[in-house]
Amino acid sequence: SAVISQKPSRDICQRGTSLTIQCQVDSQVTMMFWYRQQPGQSLTLIATANQGSEATYESGFVIDKFPISRPNLTFSTLTVSNMSPEDSSIYLCSGQQETQYFGPGTRLLVL
């Protein structure tokens, strides 16, 4: 099974700023994904991070707001840009091997 780490684990940010979240997997994965989890809600898929090409975004999420990079098979970043309080949430990355494994999440509070 893959072990996934995320940095930072939590952060408090001011509105209008940006935060980049890093996701590192200890072994190669075929796909990497970014999710958002708001209190009491389902995990919502933001995008699929594609190696060496642009990420594939789900409806309601756009590249300008959530730019994603995936330079290799074990690493990806998600940036939350021009943040507002509505972006306060838990952001999770996952990696696909025989099943989908998740990182511990990044807890973001925007003031």
Partner: protein, 111 residues
């Protein structure tokens, strides 16, 4: 639209009191049904994948079953350490690994 609905939203059990959690899905072309456990402040932890109606899988006090329209997670003689939120997710889309999650059932096991 693909939907995954879990019930109940919350469940309190006495230690040793067996019960079941429900996951119903309206997903076209379901390719797999996943169960995860999520502890507070952590990412989802993979439990089971079920692929076809009639399939069952077990792990310690947990048993997952799948029918054509729903899945059950049976918890036998639960212990306080089984307290967590249990998430189910459907996998759809040929060649895709995207999961559609339910909102989860928060299980509390009282000593």
């Amino acid at each position: 639209e693909d939907q995954v609905t879990q019930s109940p939203e919350a469940l309190r059990l006495q230690e040793g009191e067996s019960s079941s959690l429900n996951c119903s899905y309206t997903v076209s072309g379901l390719r797999g049904l996943f169960w995860y456990r999520q502890d507070p402040g952590k990412g989802p932890e993979f439990l089971f994948t079920l692929y076809s109606a009639g399939e069952e899988k077990e792990k310690e006090r947990l048993k997952a079953t799948l029918t054509k329209k729903e899945s059950f997670l049976h918890i036998t003689a639960p212990k306080p350490e089984d307290s967590a939120t249990y998430l189910c997710a459907g996998l759809t889309g040929a060649g895709s690994y995207q999961l559609t999650f339910g909102k989860g059932t928060k299980l509390s096991v009282i000593p």
